[in-house]
Subunit: 321 residues, 2 copies
Amino acid sequence: MELKEIYEPIQKDLAVVEERLKATSVKDAPWLNELLAHALKGGGKRLRPALLLLSARFYDYDLERLMPMAKAVEMMHLATLVHDDTIDNSFTRWGRPTVNKIWGMEKAVLLGDFLFAKSGELTASTENLRVIKLLPQTLMIITNGELAQSASSFQLGQSREQYIFRISSKTAALFVMATESGAVLSKAPEKSIQILHDYGYYLGHAFQIIDDILDFTGTEEEMGKPVASDLWQGTVTLPTLMLMEKYPNDNPVKKLFQGGDKQANIKLAIDMVRNSTIIPECFGVAADYCKKACSGLKDLPKNQAGEVMINLADFIVSRRN
Amino acid sequence: MELKEIYEPIQKDLAVVEERLKATSVKDAPWLNELLAHALKGGGKRLRPALLLLSARFYDYDLERLMPMAKAVEMMHLATLVHDDTIDNSFTRWGRPTVNKIWGMEKAVLLGDFLFAKSGELTASTENLRVIKLLPQTLMIITNGELAQSASSFQLGQSREQYIFRISSKTAALFVMATESGAVLSKAPEKSIQILHDYGYYLGHAFQIIDDILDFTGTEEEMGKPVASDLWQGTVTLPTLMLMEKYPNDNPVKKLFQGGDKQANIKLAIDMVRNSTIIPECFGVAADYCKKACSGLKDLPKNQAGEVMINLADFIVSRRN
């Protein structure tokens, strides 16, 4: 199934979110609006607003009440991407030049800060304290995870637990912010909030694992970045972990992290990951997370949104970009 | 009067804020705590928490109720400094190496993001919606001001209005966040909130004008950065504006911005600013803002804090570092 087809039941509302997102601007601030326009019109799957709208569909669904948070989760996501691209010195995203590429590091850092603030303002406008508290908590989790990743780069001896902690922080937390705030703002009962929280949490893990697989299986052309870009940056992901588990004594990642030839060892690691059972095993782990994500949905009120969420989980685990 | 002497009536409470600030840490995150410790133990005048405590002294003063915001205003300030130092590639602050100098740009950007989030969490914990809304609004104003400054660097034809807009955004907004939230959290009546808001607003202008004066009159040793560092970065401040007003047809700033020799023109600009009436005139402008800041205080309940706030304004306009 295509994403467009999956989104169909929420497509109209999602289009309103998209339109409002793109209309974001600040009075008398052309220097800022130019950057905002670039960041907000970038594309992407708008997965987080979609998750929020879907999670709100089971109880008291009111698009206008949800709107600020639907925009806020996407802006927060975009803010983290703008800062990530700046930090990683990445020049392309979604086939377009990044903010740091066009306007430089200075403006990219400030634009990210502005987007964090704007998402905070939107969240505050809900006047819902639970949702309000979720935003800074999520951002703390994300940045802590990013710092953990940075601290562990080129480090041997990493565990799966450390990897799961990192993807839980850097990806699942924001999925949770989307699903939990959708649930809370639609006045879902506590048990349903927990189910939707868990959906976001485990789906976020699956999503990131697939991202980490694609980093090995995709082509430079498809991804707009080098194959195994994580390894180039010294970041250990699930395929790399499995490679090291399979060949604990001698493997190209170990050699790479011990200062061996970068190009040759990364090329070898890519070949070994691709030509082994590692990729299907990783897909298996992601599929397990998806299953876990969806396991509670049956206890929610029967609803088309529940089916969409299952389709979305299937899409995420089978996507190829 | 020394700052220590001025702070005396709030010294005990300010020391508690300081202690709690320094105790900030995250469980099982040594990679983050190392950065936090460096950023939070850096020194600085703790002016913003002081303003918050003082502004709360006129009505229902409760240190524990104020504590989260007292920490939040300082953390937000520190977050902006961490990002500023990163953007400006500054290596020293308060006589110590900056976060970006020690740990690099990547960690500095993320630490700033974490501090923004932490200040958001602290603010949310007050459960006071007015104060909660103030934080993202302030951060939006600050980043917009920083972007305006960046967009105007090395640009001729700037007006005083543009300068005032920038200092209002980048400095006065955070002073206002401190004084207004102190007033709100101490349950001050609306009229008093406005008086304390205005105190922060105008004092912030005065503070930044003095900063901009010191950038010309200080020595490299005192400041830990080159004299006229603003000009080196192409930033127009009040002394520079006055210089261009005095010599509209021919002046070293014009030459500098038109691509002339950097070192020679900046040296000449410093000499011309120092050896003219510009510095006393700038002090005059700052003093006017201080007067404006204090003009409403007489309408607040009679209180030692009012005197402290007047002393603080005097200190700010006469400080030499």
